[in-house]
Each structure stands twice: as structure tokens, then as C-alpha cells.
């Protein structure tokens, strides 16, 4: 399934774009697709075992994926996946 991955500026520089087209049937596959195409982005999205970090949250169409199966959450055509890493500036 084609979907759009939205990256915050801090990660966008690693993919040269704030929005990238990705493909997969689950959130984990979307993330893996992005990770394969942008190796420098990969370690910022998930750990070496392919699991999400506690300090980088993903929202599939604005819903927190952790309450919908995490990386196993299923993706539909045209879905939007937003990455929100923790920031602390004030």
C-alpha cells in the first residue's frame, strides 16, 4: 500500500524531504521501506532489531499506533504516518 511518511525537520534532513512516499501493508513495513531507502534515517526510526523506540512515536492518520498494534498496525492506501520524536527545548 502506498502511504506518506511525514518527518519532522530534525529527521527530514536525513531523507532530504519532509514528506516521503513509502509502501507496505503494515506500519513496520512502511518504516522498513523508509529505512532501506535512507540508511542514515533508519537508526532514528527504529532500533537494530526493527522495534520502535519509546521516545519516537508514530501516528497513523493521527492515531497513536501503540494502541492499534504498533508496527503490526495495518495500512490502507493513502494513509498518513507521522513521526514525532521527543524534543525537550524550552
Amino acid at each position: 500500500m502506498p502511504a506518506t511518511l511525514f518527518l519532522p525537520a530534525v529527521l527530514a534532513k536525513l531523507a532530504d524531504a519532509k514528506e516521503i512516499r513509502v509502501s507496505g501493508s503494515t506500519v513496520g513495513e512502511l518504516v522498513a521501506d523508509a529505512a532501506a531507502r535512507y540508511p542514515e534515517l533508519a537508526p532514528r526510526l527504529r532500533d537494530t532489531d526493527g522495534n520502535p523506540y519509546a521516545y519516537v512515536t508514530f501516528y497513523l492518520n493521527d492515531e497513536d499506533i501503540r494502541f492499534n498494534g504498533g508496527f503490526s498496525a495495518t495500512v490502507n492506501d493513502g494513509d498518513e504516518l507521522t513521526v514525532v520524536p521527543a524534543i525537550a527545548g524550552g
Partner: protein, 397 residues
Amino acid sequence: MSAATLLSETPATADALPDLSPEEILRYSRHVIIPDVGLSGQKKLKAARVLLIGAGGLGSPLGLYLAAAGVGHIGLVDFDVVDVTNLQRQLLHGTKDVGRKKLDSARDRILDVNPNVELTTYETALTSENALEIISGYDLVIDGTDNFPTRYLVNDACVLLGKPNVYGSIYRFEGQASVFSTENGPCYRCLYPSPPPPGLVPSCAEGGVLGVLPGLVGTIQATEAIKLILGIGEPLIGRLLLVDALDAKFRTVKLRKNPECPSCGTREITTLIDYQEFCGVPQAAAATAREGELPEILPRELAERLKLGTVDLIDVREPHEWEIARIDGARLIPLATVADRLHELDRTRDIVLQCKGGVRSAKALRTLQAAGFTRVLNLVGGITRYSDDVDPTIPKY
């Protein structure tokens, strides 16, 4: 969830609300003529006790607007001194205040905006030892801190005490805001159960921040605080507002209370912990120490050796930093590219690595050592100290 009942146990909505003087009614006339605020709302603001953690980027618009709005009692926690680099965004402080305690300049500014405000200042870092005592005297808390350990501390203390925590954080052109720790809403740990490892996420001091961004996010926090006090509108409970100043986009994503959250879910956190430890700060420092001492060079010695031509100076900062300031004779090889450009370096000569303050160049030095380079030195204090010790015409930033 409506804000109407959030502060129902506070003095703000008790029967005996404070009276407003004719001067106050006139001062707040643009509030009291709004039906949703009215005289009773303005009295709630006067009765409210709000604690601001931090008098910096977020704390500045918060302090100014909450004072102007007529919040009766504002508490302010900060231990910092005004630095000239603060002035690009921290409107509580002016040029004349550089070198003063932030609490002193904040007091002057806030009381100038509204002398009716009762201001209590706490010249201390918020710690596990003092947080519960300080926070317990307030109706709600606004998190304007700049680091992860304090954010988790504020969260846990607010959950333990049942105080709403109006959250905001910023980086470069982007920000986040939400309202945590209400009776049925999520908390900061529901959003981020644990922090990133130290050093992974740059601070505003390291990565920069657009000066107006804390203005944007801080005024959103102030708006949420005022809504909570007045009991009007739909607060950002269970929602995270994402602000992208560069694209002029505001978007909210849904947050849920995590039933397994150790703070607000299972409630297994019953006392405040060591948040530096929780965030891995001492462990990271110990790991650095275990790696051993770095071979170093001081700025004055580097200057002598650059004159003699007996050393190669490699600047591992980013190109945009190179544009701001550079040391004559340096060559730019940004840290991220060092590993791929080792072949450009002469192993038979002494190599000095330099960045802004010495941290990134230390990482580059480790990379070179791992690749078998033996004649490598780290410039102590980076270009900043070089400017202090050798050449003050080099701009600091």
C-alpha cells in the same frame, strides 16, 4: 473533555472568589466584556495560583501573558543568569539585564506588566527533593523547562499531586504542546515512556531555535492554562499539538492514557526518583570517562603550532557554522563525513580536531583513533575558547 471541572477543587472556583477593584475591572475590561469570561472568570484568574518552571524561551511569553491576564499568583522556578544569547527569544529579559539573575529581571518585567500579580520566585533547580513541596502550593503547573530529566520530574510530581501540567517543547522551527496529568487524561510518560539517550536529541543551545517559536508555543501554553482556570473551551487533553513554523502548519494527533503507564496508569511510581539516572545522564558521563582521557591541545599552543606549520587543523562543524566563524588554517570536514574522508588526512602529521566547544571533535577523535590514527589531538573548548584565549575577532555564537 471540557475544561469546566478541571480546577473545581481549587480556590479559583470556590464560592469566595476575590473581589476586583475598580482599577482592576478597568484593566481587565477586554476580558470582562467577553461573556465566557465575565467578572466571575476574571475573579477566577485572580484567585489562580500558577507555577512556571523555567524563565527562558517558553517562560517569557508565559510570564508576560499570565501576568497581563490577571493571574493572581505566579510562581517562577529558575536558577539561571541572563546571557546575551537569550535575548533573541526570551522577552522577559532585556539587554540591560545581561548578567543578572533571570528571576530578578523576570520580576521587574512581570510587575511592570501588572503590579497586581503576587509573584513568588524559587532560585533553585527543580529537584526530586523540592518538587512536591513547591508544586503543592499551586493549582496548575506549566512546563517551560529545557531538558528531559526535569520534564519527567515535573510530570511525575504533577501526577502524584493531581496537578494539571501544561506542556510545551521546542526545537528549531517546530514545537509540541499538550495538557497532561488531568484526572482522566494521559501524562507525559504516556506519550514518551522513556527518554532518548543523552546526546541524541540536540538542545536549543546545540541545534538552535527560531526566536519566535517559543513565543508561539508559550502563548499556546498560556492559552491552555487560562482555559483551564476559566473552565472554558476544549483543552489539549488527550491531544498533542504539533507546530511547524516553517510550513505554517498546525496539526493535532490523538494521545491516549496508557493503562500500563507507571506514573498515571498502574501508579507504581509512588515517590520521585533520580531523574538524571532515569535519563542516563550519569551513565553517559561514566561511559565517556571509561573511554579514557583524550589527547588534548590548548588554544594558545595550537596558535603557536599553526604559525610553525607543524599541525593540521580539522574543523568538524557544519558548513553553516563555518560560515559564521573559522580559525585561519583550518580545513572543514563535518563530523558526519569524517569516517568517509579519512583518506584525506595525513597520518604522518599531528592532527588537531576542532568544533564549537570540543564535544563533536572528541567524537571525531575517537573515529580517527579507531581507524589507527595515533597523532590526534582535541582542541580544548573548541573555537569558542580559541576566540577567548587567542583571537577575540573570531565571533562566538
